[in-house]
Amino acid sequence: MDVKITTEREKEAAAYLEKHKIFDLMRNLTSMLFFYRPDDPKEFLIEKLEQLKQARDQGQKAPSLLSHSNLDAAFGIVDPANERYVTFAQYKQALISLGMKDINECPDGVNDDKITYDTFITEGMLSLEKCSATYKQP
């Protein structure tokens, strides 16, 4: 009986963490923390959490480490010849390397296997927003 208690609690806790996307939240927060390396980590975290709270309540943009320029840079790496097109596999790989999940499997141009720069950026920003919105979706 005592073994069951632990397992049930564990399951509950795991379910809770999953539901509220705690893992993603922590990953985002720690990434930002390690990237900016502020002198006062607590203040910094408080600030980011406030921003996240506002994003959730008022629909503002959630804080995230990546931005438009990063997506730009990523595209530039995958497309060194500056053709402004990448293949679907490259597009997917680039976004995975940036840490995105929930990538749109059918962006514009997937049939020709030619993802344009604009599509790449748009899809990237969408995924980014989903990644940063680390709270329970109502």
């Binding site: 893992f23 390690f34 990237f35 390396r37």
Partner: protein
């Protein structure tokens, strides 16, 4: 405390900062684009994400991610890991509906360094004495069953009624009482420590996370109850109490243990000072045979329940032998409370006079923790063989038979420590040229050591050891070899002199270096070093 976390979260810390993280074998990809891709992003002000730890490459291989040293240093400096741990464990245990608000509240509290202690043990093992001493020294608040019952509030009333009626105080009531007590003003001081003693069958969670700098130490004293609980019941209760106590749980618990006859003996001589409530022992007390039975049954009850309690607290438990003199017990407990296990990339510096066993210790430590053993004597040889720019520089000097200048050796050292294997697995550095400049440079750089050991050895022993190393064992020693030995003795003496002059300076550069007596058996020295590696002392 981190019992309930899903395994992935362990991965985040333990794999990043653990010294035992071994690099996965990786099929080397021809193009290094994938690795470059990430480093490029890092440099071009993009995110360096800590997770995913494994980067899926085009060729379906995995490469372990390399953590830049700045991050490890930052993490050490600001105790980031502990902070994150506290946050996540709080969330996992409390499971609030609004995690963001909860975290905000948590972070706005002043300190997260709160030693909360429960003292467990059979009757008469010395818990009360220990608890009082701890509270006096750490500025703690000692919470016991008696003080809880004396509480003037409504809850206290109910508890008293139960106690008077010879009934068990129900668990919920007890936990409420504890929470109330700990929320009171005197528990809000900097680093107060509250103790709780309950009957042997109940081990409650103590200390609310909300009451910021609050750390209760619990001690157990037998109340007048004679219920024997089965192990399962006890464990169930302990877990329930801990859960119910909304993430109030001790951060450390100490189990004092001693043999039965010792306990019976002590119990006989136990008296309670009526004025101060201190327990003291009369060694020459007439045995009271009528109470002997009571003692034995108490002990038996404790034995039944101790397994349940230890299981409930197994993650933070330390067992201390209660049969030692009280000062020893106290020392051990304080040492335990002040330390906190932390996993980090080890960067160890071993300093010591020639003959103190640095090479031997370095080898043993690096075997155990899979660190890279960097010997400064071999640095130049390594640099010569290295194909990169630093190798070029060193080779030019060596080709022209010129001594390599200090600046270049410093660069070689930095370069070696910056290599992937060193920054991932950690390193242990020894035979540093006894130059203050080297030491200061090292400390200022990104590769500052996080553990410095000074191996202490007297001059006579140094000379003896180095002589023993050099003397050939066979009796056919000719004059030439003896002369060589003398020369070497002079070199050693010179090196020793140099070391001694620099010691004070080195100690100034590394003020938190640990001094270890190297005049013992190498195994003992190794153990001493080992102990220091994984602990981190609180500095308040």
């Amino acid at each position: 405390m981190l019992i309930f976390l899903p395994p992935r979260l362990w991965l985040l810390e333990s794999q990043l900062f653990s010294s035992e993280w071994t690099t996965a074998s990786v099929p080397q990809s021809r193009k290094e684009r994938e690795e470059d891709f990430l480093f490029f992003l890092a440099k071009e002000s993009a995110a360096f994400l800590l997770v995913p730890l494994e980067v899926p490459t085009m060729e379906d291989g995995v490469r372990p991610l390399r953590v830049p040293p700045q991050m490890s240093i930052y993490a050490d400096q600001h105790n980031v890991i502990h902070l994150v741990q506290t946050m996540v464990s709080g969330l996992a245990v409390d499971q609030p509906e609004d995690p963001i608000a909860y975290l905000l509240l948590l972070l706005q509290e002043s300190s997260v360094h709160v030693p909360r202690v429960v003292l467990l043990g059979p009757p008469a093992v010395g818990k009360t004495t220990l608890a009082r001493k701890l509270c006096a020294d750490l500025g703690a608040v000692h919470v016991t069953m008696e003080t809880l019952l004396d509480d003037q509030s409504q809850l206290g009333e109910r508890a008293r009624r139960c106690a008077l009626g010879r009934q068990e105080v129900p668990d919920d009531l007890l936990v409420d009482l504890i929470q109330e007590r700990l929320k009171r003003a005197d528990c809000f001081n900097t680093l107060p420590c509250g103790g709780l003693s309950t009957s042997a069958s109940r081990v409650s969670g103590l200390g609310s996370r909300r009451t910021s700098s609050n750390s209760p130490a619990g001690s157990e004293s037998p109340a007048g109850r004679r219920h024997s609980q089965t192990r399962r019941q006890v464990f169930a209760r302990a877990s329930c109490l801990r859960e119910r106590g909304s993430d109030i749980a001790p951060a450390s618990s100490v189990l004092l243990d001693a043999g039965e006859d010792v306990l019976l003996e002590r119990r006989r001589g136990r008296r309670l000072d009526t004025l101060t409530g201190d327990a003291y022992r009369e060694t020459s007390a007439r045995p009271r045979d009528d109470a002997a039975e009571g003692r034995a049954s108490d002990l038996q009850r404790h034995r039944c329940e101790v397994t349940g309690m230890s299981a409930a607290y197994r993650h933070v438990l330390k067992t201390v032998d209660g049969d030692q003199p009280p000062t020893d017990v106290y020392q051990q407990v304080v040492a335990f409370l002040r330390t906190r296990r932390c996993s980090r990339t080890p960067r160890v510096l071993l300093l010591g006079p020639p003959g103190s066993g640095k090479k031997h210790q370095a080898k043993m430590l690096s075997d155990k923790y899979k660190m890279v053993d960097v010997c400064c004597c071999d640095l130049l040889r390594w640099a010569e063989a290295d194909p990169s720019w630093i190798g070029e520089e060193v080779r030019t000097y060596l080709q022209h038979n010129r001594p390599v200048p200090n600046g270049v050796t410093l660069n070689v050292l930095q370069e070696r420590l910056n290599r992937a294997d060193c920054s991932q697995r950690g390193w242990i550095l020894h035979h540093l040229p006894c130059d203050l400049q080297h030491a200061k440079h090292l400390k200022r750089s990104l590769n500052a050591p996080n553990r410095v050991f000074f191996l202490e050895l007297t001059d006579a022993v140094c000379l003896h050891r180095t002589a023993a190393k050099r003397t050939p064992t066979d009796p056919g020693v000719d004059a030439a070899t003896v002369r060589e030995c003398d020369d070497n003795a002079r070199t050693v003496a010179h090196a020793l002199g140099v070391y001694r002059t620099h010691t004070a300076g080195l100690q100034g550069v590394f003020p938190d270096g640990v001094h270890v007596d190297a005049d013992q058996d190498p195994r003992y020295v190794f153990e001493a070093l080992d102990r220091q590696l994984t602990v981190q002392t609180h500095t308040h």
